[in-house]
């Protein structure tokens, strides 16, 4: 087949083009023709189709995501040094350090090919972090699956977990947290979100642009192959239709060894100061990197596509532009630095080739063996894709759903029944021990993991001398978001915020991964707009900005959308990691007083109890009061700094009962507890009201601690004491920790081994 050049496209305007197969709509194809004033060449069509896909262009979400810009761009820790639109957001955490973090989805590839889908999800987010100039220091993976006992979960879960571990472990990045959640709506559409945190000195910050006429564009890392072609447009932007063709060839294949070399090589390139601008090649491959770098620069760019080193010599120029081969980066380098750049790459055995240069034409021009195959304004590819104001409407079933509250369901009413309920909940898939999963992740490498799962948040020491550190948590209760997406999103934010504060860190910034069904469904679109409204309002109230994130649409099987799942990651800063507060009740804490902070209401709708005991989802989610969350956070942070508490654990899924069980099993010591005056024992144990935490206070600090709560007029009630080897709920029941541990740990191994 002869090459479809620009001149050929001009002289053959009526050639039929496969725009529909590439995922473009008729009006989108027409728009490309209007922009170019001719038909696109096949290479241009490939580029536009990739970059105008939902995944790359955010065409359905853009109008709503703009609202994140309304949030003040200051963080409680320090200035935001880079925000939404960069590879990842960056904030100043003091002492000359900056931290960057971001979460992204890799949902559809992980369903098609669990191991490689999950592995390359980790790889992609890590490259986003190194592209900012930072050393990656930790990863976390919020995962969601169908029911634990479903046959397909046994296919998908082990592959995804070993893919996350196989890639992250081989990079030497500690995996310090995340989530493992089961719900029937994720059966044909598991969620694999991947978060990475990076640390740099302020002066090391690098942005993605190609400036300076004559500067050289260098592609380095792995060779380009046929994997992942059309990954973005075909996989991420279409719903899985039952009985459709298998899509395996579009999933990328990862090589963590190459990525490890790429990390070390890139950091050495930055340190040698031989890089002007840089971008990783992820979704959209070279189409994305060339058009984004060029449009962010001050000139144009010319690229010789035949200089791209290939793993498969038979690839066409269109395929090279669309390939999503992993472990590749593109850098803009001044001519005098090219030699030094190539030398560092050689040291790390990383292939590097000059494939183009910055021009003054303002255009992106791509040649294939001397013939021009692309001649476009880069911003029309990268940023001027279609923008949709998709119709959205509160679904007709929402009222009926909200009217069907769980508060009316039958509850355990005596000690024996409460005991049975507790054991049932503790062993349920969402509340049980997750070490079958997390033992496959290296949490120790790099030697700075101060806290890791199952703690409330992961915590990393940034400076060994001063003890400066960061804490990160990710959370979302999709059931709450289904019942009320606005409140559900706020609750996800509140929980993540609380989890960071519980460890003693001051929450500073937010990243989010918005996982939803098809944007072409007005009900889904309504959930999406409501969730964004909730996050924007919530972030304003808490005074923390959104620094970046990701939207994943089309998460549905047939007509069934997943639970709306706006995963929220909060990053906090702690001045001295030795002051961190863990969750466990340890032998040294024997005799410490237990306090429940916050108000417990009759809030059972969307709870784990309703889900496990009654298979019920209806009603309204717990109320969220972000002013109270802020107060609670202040108390937890001050108490940690002043040594008033030795353990703290947030109250969320499963209620106070689950909080106590996790703390007791973590540290190996039990507790004797009672419901505070006037609170029904069932609600005390299982209600899921927000804004609460359980803390362990040494007797010597009790007065100072309660004085602090009283002075702040924050509700606090003594609920027990750390002691013994049982969980003893006074006047109700007692369970040995051995029995709890057995129930808690048996669930995943019994199904997955």
């Amino acid at each position: 087949m002869s090459t479809d050049t620009v001149s050929n496209a001009t002289s053959t305007p009526d050639v039929e083009q496969p725009w529909a197969e590439l995922g473009l709509k008729p009006d989108e194809y027409q728009r490309i023709r209007d922009i170019l004033g001719r038909r696109p060449t096949s290479c241009e069509l490939a580029m536009y189709s990739v970059m105008w896909s939902e995944h790359c262009s955010y065409k359905s979400s853009k109008v709503h995501l703009k609202r994140f810009g309304e949030i003040p761009q200051e963080t409680p820790a320090g200035k935001m040094l880079a925000g939404i639109g960069e590879n990842a957001g960056v904030i100043d955490i003091g002492e000359g350090y900056a931290v960057t973090f971001k979460v992204e989805s890799h949902n559809h590839p992980s369903y098609v090919e669990p191991y490689q889908g999950a592995a390359t999800g980790v790889g992609g987010i890590v490259r986003d972090i190194i592209a900012m100039g930072a050393r990656p220091v930790a990863v976390m993976d919020p995962l969601r699956f169908g029911p634990l006992d479903a046959p397909d979960t046994k296919r998908v879960l082990p592959g995804i977990v070993s893919g996350v571990g196989g890639y992250g472990n081989s990079l030497g990045l500690p995996n310090i947290g995340g989530e493992v959640v089961f719900d029937p709506t994720y059966l044909g559409n598991p969620l694999v979100n991947a978060l990475c945190v990076g640390v740099m000195r302020h002066e090391d910050l690098h942005l993605a642009n190609a400036t300076g006429v004559g500067n050289q564009m260098i592609l380095y890392g792995a060779k380009t192959g046929g994997d992942g072609i059309g990954g973005v447009s075909v996989l991420a932007s279409e719903t899985f239709a039952e009985g459709g063709p298998t899509k395996r060839p579009a999933v990328q294949v990862g090589d963590p060894f190459m990525e490890k070399l790429l990390i070390e090589c890139t950091l050495e390139l930055f340190a040698a100061n031989v890089v002007e601008g840089i971008q990783d090649l992820g979704g959209g491959g070279l189409s994305c990197a060339t058009s984004e770098l060029a449009s962010a620069g001050d000139g144009g760019m010319r690229v010789s596509l035949d200089k791209v080193p290939l793993r498969d010599a038979s690839l066409s120029p269109e395929e090279i532009l669309m390939s999503e081969s992993q472990e590749r980066m593109m850098a803009c380098v001044t001519p005098e630095n090219v030699e030094a750049f190539l030398k560092i790459c050689e040291k790390w055995d990383v292939q590097a080739d000059v494939i183009g240069e910055v021009t003054d034409t303002g255009r992106l021009e791509i040649d294939w063996h001397g013939e021009r195959v692309v001649d476009v304004l880069p911003e029309t590819v990268a940023h001027e894709g279609p923008v949709y104001n998709r119709p959205y409407e509160r679904p007709s079933w929402q009222d009926e759903l909200q009217a069907d509250g769980a508060e009316k369901l039958p509850r355990a009413s005596n000690g024996a029944e409460l005991r049975d309920t507790l054991l049932k909940l503790v062993a349920s898939p969402n509340l049980c021990d997750k070490s079958w999963v997390t033992d496959q992740y290296d949490r120790y490498v790099l030697g700075n993991s101060v806290l890791a799962q199952p703690e409330d948040s992961g915590m990393i020491r940034v400076d060994e001398t001063s003890g400066l550190g960061v804490a990160v948590s990710t959370d979302c209760n999709g059931r709450f978001a289904k019942l009320d997406p606005y409140t559900g999103a706020k609750l996800a934010l509140a929980e993540s915020f609380r989890n960071v504060a519980t460890t003693g860190a001051r929450p500073a910034a937010v990243t989010d991964c918005l996982n939803f069904g098809s944007p072409e469904d007005p009900a889904v679109m309504w959930q999406f707009t409501e969730a964004i409204r909730g996050l924007v309002d919530g972030c304003k109230e808490l005074g923390i900005p959104v620094t970046g994130g990701n939207v994943s649409f089309y998460n549905q099987t047939g007509e069934t959308a997943i639970l709306p799942t706006p995963v929220v990651g909060v990053l906090g800063v702690i001045d001295d990691v030795t002051r961190r507060t863990p969750i466990g009740f340890t032998p040294e804490m024997e005799g410490h007083q237990l306090y429940l902070l916050g108000e417990t209401e009759e809030e059972l709708s969307g709870s784990e109890w309703a889900h496990v005991v009654h298979g019920h989802l209806g009603g309204r989610p717990p109320a969220v009061d972000l002013a109270a969350e802020q107060q609670l956070a202040d108390i937890l942070i001050n108490a940690s700094r002043d040594g008033l508490i030795d353990a703290a654990h947030d109250v969320s899924d499963g209620g106070v009962a689950q909080t106590l069980v996790e703390s007791a099993l973590r540290g190996g010591v039990g507790a004797r507890v009672w419901a505070p005056d006037g609170l029904d024992p069932f609600l005390f144990l299982f209600a899921e009201s927000a804004g609460r935490a359980v803390v362990a206070v040494p007797r010597t600090e009790e007065v100072r601690f309660t004085d602090m709560c009283t002075a702040r007029r924050f509700p606090h009630a003594k609920i027990g004491v750390i002691t013994g080897d049982t969980l003893d709920v006074q006047d109700q029941f007692e369970v040995p920790l051995t029995e709890l541990r057995e129930a808690w740990t048996a669930t995943l191994p019994s199904v997955l081994n």
Binding site: S162, G165, G166, N169, S170, L171, G172, D255, P256, F257, M258, K260, L261, W348, D349, T438, D439, Q440, Y441, D442, R443, Y444, V445, L446, G447, N448, S449, V450, R461, V577, T578
Partner: protein, 222 residues
Amino acid sequence: MKIGVVTFPGSLDDADARRAAAVAGAEAVALWHGDADLHGVDAVVLPGGFSYGDYLRAGAISRFAPVMETIITRAGQGMPVLGICNGFQVLCESHLLPGALIKNHHRKFVCKDQALRIENNSTAWTSDYDANHEITIVLKNQDGSFVADEATLDRLEGEGRVVARYLGNPNGSYRDIAGISNERGNVVGLMPHPEHAVETLTGPTTDGLGFFTSVLKAVVAS
């Protein structure tokens, strides 16, 4: 007193090993796989990781690195060498130690706090432990199952060269073996990671520190 830590392409726990050496009171020196010069170090640690991506077999390519030629020669002359995890695999591939490390019997990567018993406290790397000292350090590996033929295993046992044994076998290692030494006791291979257990803040215990303080004494004594 200088402890060198080799970085191969794909080494991951090299910075941790250097930190552990420093915590023990040594000067940590970074060595590069492509440089045969040991830069005057008194002992060498081959750290954990996936050197060369574990291509072919774990440790199989690293043994041919220029730095390994010098290390093999110096080890023969008595220089203390500790191979941790991937470093253990490199020592076996280099034939400084017998046996091999194969995939865990449960086929999964495992990361956990692991109890061990120090069976030989007279090697260069274990003299600071008591006889039969029980310690808990970090275990994390994919290919951690130690195997050897029966005659080799009997010989290792008979010569007291089983340095550490698992309390609760986590990976299918023959005779619960977690670490072994050469005849002379200066070369030790250990699957678990003592370098991750030198600070209470970031490790499960500080039980791993003894490996690094032991070698300081061994070097001073020699």
